[in-house]
């Protein structure tokens, strides 16, 4: 397919869009607060107002302001000033929003699109989230979809694609921040033959829903990223490993794959080139450890989802023993824009070693919670106090937990740190996949440590002894502390266990499981001390 043809295709898709678009969020968060009924009521209201030719109600993905859902947005392509945002919309308010288009008073609660929650965001991965119908490939094409893939296949060699990604400075968004270009070039350099691309959509951190939202809001973006990756590394088949707890993401992905195949964006001879790439979905059975790449590979191939020692790394010996590229959803979501807008553009965003943006799910004791995409280097204070609006009811921030069960707590006096890979890990936490939980003054930090340890001991696969038995012992000690039955010797033992489990566990789950304890001990040791009891009697 020629470039002009793709453009024409996009133009056709754009022409189908009507002047006034009413966006109704139908992602999981808003669905939970009745958004499908809102969408239905909107459709009905448009029909009743006889506005069917000008107004189009679009079922879209996540707009991010999940705590205020269901969210409805109104956009008028003829009048850029006519932009409206409504929060906590009920089906009863639908007719008034539609009548509002004709100048009548709207009863729905208006939102402020200039609120710092939106104003501080820079959306790259989520640029189309909430703006297009995720169930329609035409909507994706209308916003320039699949142009990055076309450009890669026809204008760039695989080596050039890898170089572009390398130059962009993109790092893995799944947690550890490994340079994406280096991973790609390792797989690309393996001798030609069967290779695979895997999209890791096994998002399991408590409180994290970044990947879920991206998949629910813009599934084609991920498929495009995978196809570009496949071309770059020489793989003709990809798997999306997505957890079964994300049924909406799965069904939207299935639709997207079907549409992409039908339109020759996936399959054999993509766009008429000599390149083949197909994608299959593998549904995970609910094990956190399957987010670890070797466990994920074992699970995709039908085995028990347990990790194995690395090296050999999956890039060398991966799925079915073949070189395999594994990238997280958000990482893959960055690929198409890097190709279309260039590595220099991407590398101009962010800090020295952390480029681009990062999506966080901002939750906990914060007024405005939801999904945010911010440039690297923003301060934690801007996120928590400005975007999140601080703690409700005038409370104080005590700490911010980032990185989920592998991460740590950053105390309030360090809120001015820059959000990037290096600064967060220097503060004893980590970027992680993007969970961000704000805690107020009433939060027990020992309780927080116990919560995450309970999670880790339940999710340990049981293969290696330090993780299986060590997390259980640590959890027991934390319970004992909170029950005010522990002594200084117990606390010392907890610290020894943290050190040992971290140093000896087989995979990342075990190695990082002590982090929530270590970081709370680092900043809130007095809370542990205050719980201690006198030692056992001895002469």
């Amino acid at each position: 397919m020629e470039w002009a043809e793709l453009q024409e295709w996009a133009d056709q898709a754009r022409q189908k869009r009507k002047n006034i678009r009413v966006y109704c969020c139908t992602s999981t968060g808003c669905q939970a607060s009745n958004s499908p009924a809102v969408k239905k009521a909107m459709d009905k209201a448009v029909k009743e107002a006889n506005l069917g030719t000008e107004v189009q109600v679009v079922s879209v993905g996540c707009m991010g302001f999940c705590g205020q859902g269901p969210i409805v947005e109104v956009e008028n392509s003829q009048d850029p000033n006519h932009y409206r945002l409504y929060e906590q919309v009920t089906p009863e308010q639908a007719p008034s929003i539609i009548k509002g288009l004709q100048g009548e008073i709207v009863t729905a609660t208006p939102g402020n699109p200039n609120h710092p929650f939106f104003a501080h965001q820079l959306q790259i991965v989520r640029e189309h989230s909430g703006q297009i119908d995720p169930e329609s490939i035409e909507e994706y094409l209308a916003v320039g979809g699949y142009q990055g893939l076309h450009h890669s296949l026809f204008e760039m060699s695989p080596e050039e694609v890898v170089q572009e990604i390398t130059r962009s400075g993109l790092r893995g968004r799944g947690g550890a921040g490994f340079p994406t270009g280096l991973k790609w070039s390792t797989v690309a350099k393996m001798p030609p033959g069967q290779k695979y691309v895997i999209c890791n959509a096994d998002e399991g951190d408590p409180g994290a829903f970044m990947d879920r939202s991206v998949l629910e809001s813009d599934p084609h973006r991920i498929i495009e990223g995978m196809a570009i990756a496949g071309y770059a590394v020489g793989a003709d088949h990809g798997y999306i490993y997505v957890r079964a707890e994300y049924p909406l993401a799965i069904s939207r992905l299935e639709k997207a794959i079907k549409q992409a195949k039908r339109n020759n964006v996936l399959g054999t001879q993509i766009f008429g080139s000599a390149i083949n790439f197909s994608v299959e979905i593998r549904v995970g059975a609910g094990a956190f450890v399957c987010g670890e790449e070797t466990a994920l590979i074992a699970s995709v191939s039908g085995g028990r989802g347990v990790p194995r020692p690395r090296p050999p790394y999956p890039a060398v010996v991966g799925l079915y023993g073949k070189p395999t590229l594994i990238n997280n959803v958000e990482t893959l979501g960055n690929i198409a824009p890097i190709i279309t807008k260039g590595a220099d553009w991407y590398a101009s965003i962010g800090t020295g070693k952390s480029k681009g943006t990062k999506i966080f799910s901002l939750t906990g004791n914060v007024i405005y919670n939801g999904l945010i995409e911010v440039p690297m280097g923003i301060t934690l204070r801007e996120i928590v106090e400005e975007m999140g609006g601080g703690v409700p009811n005038g409370g104080q921030v005590k700490a911010v937990q980032t990185g989920g069960p592998s991460g740590g707590c950053i105390p309030a006096d360090q809120l001015d740190i820059s959000v990037d890979y290096e600064s967060l890990s220097a503060a004893g936490s980590m970027m992680g996949s993007g969970g961000m939980v704000v805690m107020d003054q009433d939060t027990s930090m020992v309780g927080v440590a116990k919560y995450y340890m309970e999670f880790c001991q339940e999710e340990s696969c049981g293969k290696c002894i330090p993780c299986r038995a060590g997390t259980v012992q640590m959890y027991d000690l934390l319970k004992k502390l909170l029950a005010e039955e522990a002594t200084a010797a117990d606390l010392a033992q907890l610290q020894e266990l943290c050190d040992m489990v971290k140093a000896t566990s087989l995979c990342g789950l075990g190695q990082t499981s002590p982090n929530p304890v270590l970081s709370t001990l680092r900043y809130f040791e007095s809370e542990y001390q205050d719980l201690l009891q006198p030692a056992m009697s001895k002469v």
């Binding site: 056992m536 009697s537 001895k538 002469v539």
Partner: protein
């Protein structure tokens, strides 16, 4: 040199460790030169555990209220407490009742499910000590200074462990001869 005050006690165990202690045979005579046996089910007839005991060998796990009371008293009045044998060190066979669950589960199983003629739960408060919910090794209840594993520890192992104590030295608790459980 003053004789050291020496004691042994017997919690939840089979007394095998004490039998093994008696297997020290003629060395017991030598031991007697160095120690005053101030309390022991096999070496004295004192009913009360005295103050200021230097060394006490504790056989058995902590399984009932009586054990608990005694071990706490012993710990308070003893300088060097030795977990003597696997039951004291690991809770061993007495702890196998923990696999049934809590006390009620165990009693239910033993006296009702497996009982024959007169199926009834024992109940004699103040006479028969109440079982604890879980049998535990001694060091989970009070602090312990020396561990002497074995089921039972052989007479030789016992001698090698306590002979240095008489000279206020620490025994060398390494190697199969001194450490093997079971």
């Amino acid at each position: 040199m003053d004789k050291i005050k020496f004691a042994t006690i017997w919690l939840a165990g089979c007394s095998g460790c004490h039998m093994s202690f008696l297997d020290l045979d003629e060395w017991l005579i030598e031991l007697a030169q160095h120690v005053d046996v101030v309390y022991s089910p096999v070496g004295s007839d004192y009913k009360d555990y005295p103050d200021g005991v230097d060394v006490c060998l504790v056989e058995g796990a902590v399984a009932n209220e009586d054990n608990l009371e005694l071990i706490r008293e012993v710990r308070d009045k003893t300088k060097l407490l030795v977990s003597f044998g696997d039951c004291a060190v690991t809770a061993n066979v007495p702890a196998m009742r923990n696999l049934q669950g809590k006390t009620d589960d165990t009693l239910q199983r033993c006296y009702l499910e497996l009982g024959d003629d007169s199926r009834q739960l024992p109940h004699a408060p103040g006479i028969v000590p109440e079982l604890l919910d879980r049998v535990r090794p001694v060091h989970e209840v009070v602090s312990v200074d020396l561990f002497l594993p074995g089921c039972p520890p052989s007479a030789e192992r016992i001698q090698n462990a306590i002979a240095p104590l008489l000279e206020a030295k620490n025994p060398d608790m390494t190697g199969r001869e001194m450490l093997k459980f079971g």
